[in-house]
């Protein structure tokens, strides 16, 4: 004890020493400057963060939500993968969310995030994510942090250049990464790629009020691989830009065969023009099959509909709608700056960054300044549309975001760094190393007209030597840097789920003020809801047994159920009667070949259970809810198939005693 006090006092003296040094705001030497920077990421216990960071979960299929600057993980939102923790994809209400034209697809690869915008700035209403593998786009409601809509994309494969968004959320897009045979001729030799494989871009319209998605049109394109995209903004509003690689249209060993040409393309789409052609009836109706799933937040229930038609615009019938712009070596990012004037390309295999000018693109189109055509689509002259090139910025430029002060920040995969450069004169201003192999980066509001700047976050692919080892696989990670000074400064490393691919960040106030705390029981429209314990009951319908059950701290009604027989299919419809924030109840049954339910206050969810043996099975609440949480339990008895035992149920039934009347 004495020793401890001695140590502590020594330590305090030491801290005071540092305090004195830093207090003067003149960091000297590494030790003090590191301490001084790290403190900017420190959010004291009980204090809120400044930004929400929505990060894609890559191959986990989920979206994760972190606080900035602390890097604290707040929530994992299940989107394209089942999540037994929350019952997503397991409860009867959420199963339809994962339906596709291929049947239920319980996993996907979520790569990019787009947040809804109004007038070119984030409005905090919805987040969108793409499924890469079985092409889909999801919409997440930021009032509830729930996935409320998923639309499958027909005529598409590897939905990678997606879900980028226009400045008033008119459209989110879905560009196919893999070109594939589409239409009637599907069974073709792979070697006939050049003749038979096509690429499509899908424009998904959003309802202004509800955000409801609907595929407005697709554009049919040559069989290149679309990579990323950005909408124009401000002066370039009405245009969309898509990077593409494999203009060689190779179908094997792409690492060599898709790197033959010195330049690939950025495709410029005049979507206002496309709308005109659509109105003029230039689109062709194609019969397709795709699922459209939506979650009703009053019924707490998803519904899946199979749609069977899509309208396709062919550039052959629609002149002046699309143009190719040459871009060096397998472009990845094509990012528009906050003014909408500059489009920054970045060739993964290039050692410079080309910056295009929207004004010059318009001039080149007006004067038909083409260097030829690609499969009938005009190719603009590189020199005519180029604002300039950032020379020797680093190796492997991937993605660029902006701070709103005329500066751009580009991630470099091969040289593992972020490079800051000025858009006007293309001068490199600063660079910092990342640990390691950065993919995308994120600046709060970076893709919008008005970035908040302040931080840049790197999403890295490799973390060896940054964290304690955990077997052959290490956590993936993000790194937070401050950008509000002249120099970028590393503040924090934080681990992430899945593969953090792309992310967006938004001021906390835009979201937290609208956050839903409970589902109101009065608004619960689930057809299986029990509104009040009096309505709880068990009903047999043929071999189906429906348990209408309520939960509240600290019991279920009913909690004793008998009369279930082997061969029955039991539906537990559980309504959580709580009306208090942060009091979910869980529900689990022994031996259920399913997950648990996690039911929010005022919500109804249904678990399907097919008992496969005779006996008495316990059920209980999984979410610690009160001092009597452990008492929150019940039994269900399963009898033989031939049993005559009628259905009976109760809670709190005691041995008979005279009941007091009212």
């Amino acid at each position: 004890m004495f020793l401890n006090i001695l140590k502590l006092s020594k330590f305090i003296a030491f801290v005071l020493g540092i305090t004195f040094i830093i207090y003067g705001c003149k960091p000297k030497g590494i030790q003090s400057s590191v301490g001084g920077d790290a403190v900017k990421a420190y959010v004291p216990p009980g204090k809120y963060d400044e930004f929400y960071n929505f990060v894609s979960g890559g191959f986990s299929g989920q979206m994760s939500v972190y606080g900035l600057p602390s890097g604290r993980l707040f929530r994992v939102i299940p989107v394209f993968s089942v999540d037994p923790e929350k019952g997503y994809g397991y409860s009867e209400e959420t199963k339809p969310m994962l339906n596709t034209s291929h049947g239920s697809v319980p996993w996907d690869d979520l790569h990019h995030i787009a947040l809804s915008q109004t007038d070119g700035v984030h409005d905090g209403r919805w987040a969108f994510g793409n499924a890469n593998n079985t092409p889909r786009i999801a919409r997440i409601d930021l009032k509830t942090f729930r996935t409320i809509e998923i639309i499958e994309i027909p005529n598409s494969a590897g939905n990678h250049s997606s879900p980028f968004i226009t400045e008033n959320s008119e459209y989110v897009v879905a560009g196919t990464r893999f070109s594939v045979p589409i239409g009637d001729k599907l069974d073709v030799p792979i070697s006939s790629y050049k003749e038979n494989f096509k690429g499509t871009l899908s424009f998904i319209g959003l309802d202004k009020q509800t955000g409801k998605m609907n595929i407005s049109f697709q554009i049919l394109l040559p069989g290149v691989n679309f990579d990323l995209a950005r909408a124009g903004k401000g002066k370039s509003h009405g245009w969309f830009f898509f990077s593409c690689y494999n203009s060689e249209r190779a179908n094997t060993l792409l690492e060599v065969n898709a790197s033959q040409k010195d330049k690939d393309f950025i495709l410029c789409v005049n979507w206002k023009k496309a709308e005109e052609y659509l109105k003029a009836g230039k689109g062709n109706k194609k019969s397709v099959k795709y699922a459209h799933n939506s979650y009703d937040e009053q019924k707490h229930m998803a519904n899946s509909v199979i749609e069977n038609e899509v309208i396709v615009l062919d550039p052959k019938d629609c002149p002046d709608m699309v143009y190719f712009m040459p871009c060096p070596k397998s472009p990845h990012g094509c990012d528009t700056d906050p003014t909408g004037e500059y489009i920054v390309g970045s060739g993964k295999l290039a050692a410079m960054i080309p910056v295009f000018s929207f004004t010059k693109i318009q001039a080149a189109i007006a004067s038909k300044n083409y260097e030829g055509d690609y499969e009938g689509i005009p190719v603009l002259k590189y020199d005519a549309v180029l604002h300039g090139e950032v020379k020797k910025p680093g190796l492997g430029p991937l993605h660029t975001e902006f701070d709103g002060n005329g500066n751009a920040y580009t991630s470099f995969f091969v040289s593992s760094e972020i490079v800051k450069w000025r858009i006007s004169d293309l001068q490199v201003l600063d660079r910092v190393p990342t640990y390691y192999s950065i993919g995308h980066l994120c600046i709060p509001g970076g893709p919008t007209k008005k970035p908040w700047g302040k931080y840049v976050i790197a999403y890295n692919k490799i973390t060896k030597d940054r964290y304690l080892p955990t077997g052959p696989e290490l956590t993936q990670s993000a790194q937070l840097y401050s950008i509000d000074g002249e120099k970028m400064k590393l503040l924090l490393d934080f681990p992430t789920i899945g593969e953090p691919h792309y992310a967006e960040a938004i001021p906390a106030e835009l979201i937290s003020k609208n956050s839903v705390k409970i589902y109101k029981l009065e608004e619960n429209k689930n057809p299986y809801a029990s509104l009040g314990e009096k309505t709880a009951k068990v009903e047999r319908k043929g071999n189906e047994v429906h348990v209408y059950m309520t939960s509240i701290r600290s019991h279920f009604v009913p909690d004793n159920i008998e009369g279930v027989k082997l061969g029955d299919v039991v539906y537990f419809h559980v309504t959580n009667l709580e009306q208090d924030w942060d009091v979910p109840h869980g529900f689990a049954v022994k031996g259920a070949n399913n997950a648990e339910l996690l039911i929010m206050p005022g919500e109804t969810q249904t678990l399907l259970w097919k008992p496969e043996r005779i006996g008495v099975f316990p059920m209980y609440c999984t979410d610690f809810c009160s001092a009597l949480h452990q008492e929150m339990q019940g039994y269900i008895r399963v009898s033989s198939a031939g049993s005559n035992l009628p259905i009976s149920f109760s809670t709190g039934k005691k041995d008979p005693e005279p009941t007091k009347s009212l």
């Binding site: 401890n4 140590k7 502590l8 330590f11 305090i12 801290v15 540092i18 305090t19 830093i22 207090y23 705001c25 301490g35 001084g36 790290a38 403190v39 900017k40 420190y42 004291p44 204090k47 809120y48 963060d49 400044e50 700047g453 302040k454 401050s482 509000d484 000074g485 001021p507 906390a508 106030e509 937290s512 003020k513 956050s515 705390k517 409970i518 029981l521 009065e522 509104l531 009040g532 314990e533 009096k534 309520t550 509240i552 701290r553 600290s554 019991h555 009604v557 009667l577 709580e578 009306q579 208090d580 924030w581 009091v583 009160s626 001092a627 009597l628 709190g652 009941t659 007091k660 009212l662």
Partner: protein
């Protein structure tokens, strides 16, 4: 071990102060937003404290209130409160309008956190029941109707 924790706390506290004192040079001229305050201002049906004299009783009972009071009871109260003297999760309601004054009951329904934090009688009940009565998002008007239903339950006409 303990001293390490203390050290860490001391270090963080010092850095906390530094963050404030040293940030002036690099911060943009942004007003700091108190997100904490923002979430508190969300519309949530938490009553403000009701004072004595704000509720009055009249006879005969308001039949409409009794009916809507019972509906609220069925939906949000019955799970924990019986209409007899029997305690379930919470105390039974028989006799409650004789035992407690109406202001107390109303605050208990609409303002439960305040009551559990400050009122000795409410705290006694918590010790017996061991479950904090949840806020069930009941408005003042609805709570008044519930009290009318309680009066009916206690035999008033």
């Amino acid at each position: 071990m303990k001293s390490k924790v203390l050290n860490a706390i001391a270090l963080l506290m010092v850095f906390g102060i530094l963050a404030i004192s040293c940030s002036g040079g690099v911060q943009k001229d942004q007003k700091p937003i108190d997100v904490q305050e923002l979430t508190k201002n969300q519309p949530e049906v938490h009553g403000t404290e009701v004072k004595d004299g704000e509720i009055t009783f009249a006879s005969p009972l308001n039949a409409e209130w009794v009916k809507s009071g019972q509906n609220t009871y069925d939906l949000k109260c019955l799970a924990c409160h019986k209409l007899t003297e029997e305690k379930l999760v919470g105390p039974g309601w028989a006799g409650v309008t004789k035992k407690r004054n109406p202001t107390w009951i109303l605050n208990m329904i609409t303002n439960v956190d305040m009551m559990l934090d400050t009122d000795p009688e409410a705290q006694k009940l918590l010790e017996q029941c061991l479950v904090r009565m949840p806020n069930q998002n009941i408005s003042k008007e609805e709570a008044r109707q519930v009290i009318e239903f309680m009066r009916k339950n206690d035999g008033e006409m």
